[in-house]
């Protein structure tokens, strides 16, 4: 597994803590990965719109 491919896992916060450290160390030295992370990170953030929040209970409204 290429360390560059960890970008998606990092963007989705799905890396094992050790892998996250490895990737962050790599990120500091790899401009293409920083650009890729910025882009994939935006896509990952967009996923938050994919769900509905349940309506609050009557007593809290």
């Amino acid at each position: 597994m290429d360390v560059h491919e960890l970008t998606a896992g990092y963007a989705l916060d799905a890396l094992h803590p050790e892998e996250r450290e490895t990737y962050e160390a790599h990120l500091a030295q790899c401009e293409p990965c920083r650009a890729e992370l910025a882009s994939l990170g935006e896509t990952a953030t967009t996923l938050a719109f994919g769900v509905t929040s349940p309506a609050p209970p009557e007593r809290l409204r």
Partner: protein, 195 residues
């Protein structure tokens, strides 16, 4: 949290259920809840209520024990049906001793979120869900379980019985494809330009 889960494998649903996601459990049990495909109208109310009780109890058992499910030992669907069957047997035995009243579920309360905000959010949601639907199931599963389920890649590899490299590739391929899909004309997420 409501979202479509029908495309997920049973193993993936069990993994979500282990995280106490009610919607995953509901999806797992959907085929069971639907009841018999024909003649359901002729089924007596008591029998139907009993069947529902069995599913409800299996639902709870599943929630409690989902973390113990190991994919190598057998298919998730088999495991679930075993749980439901066990609960059904318990209930029938109990019912021989006493009769239970069925409870009516109260209707879902209506949301009072401002209409325009709701409409905007619904539009965004449809865009994201449309894009997710276009992904191959396995890629979609990897992304949804990571993002919505909070699983790490290693956990997913274990729970889905796949090599870690496979999960990583699915996640990368899926997210990259999602970026393309959401970047297509008409699919922009324009929260920056509208604010």
């Amino acid at each position: 949290m409501n979202r479509e889960l029908a495309h997920l494998s049973d193993e993936a649903l069990v993994a979500l259920a282990a995280r106490s996601e009610q919607s995953a459990l509901a999806e797992l049990l959907r085929p069971l809840r639907a009841g018999p495909p024909t003649g359901s109208r002729s089924a007596s109310f008591a029998t139907k209520a009993l069947a529902e009780d069995a599913v409800q109890e299996a639902f709870l058992a599943l929630w409690r024990t989902a973390a113990r499910f190991v994919p190598e030992r057998g298919k998730a669907s088999t495991w679930i049906l075993t749980l439901v069957h066990r609960r059904a047997v318990d209930i029938v035995r109990r019912e021989e001793r006493r009769r239970a009243d069925a409870l009516e579920q109260s209707p879902e309360p209506e949301s009072r979120v401002a209409v325009d905000e709701e409409a905007w959010l619904r539009l965004q949601r449809e865009r994201v869900q449309d894009a997710l639907r276009k992904l191959p199931d396995q890629q979609r599963e990897a992304i949804e379980l990571a993002y919505y389920g909070g699983f790490t890649q290693s956990e997913l590899a274990e729970r889905l019985g796949q090599p870690l490299g496979t999960i990583k590739s699915r996640m990368f391929g899926g997210l990259a494809r999602l970026r393309e899909l959401l970047g297509e004309p008409g699919m922009e997420m324009s929260w920056t330009s509208t604010s």
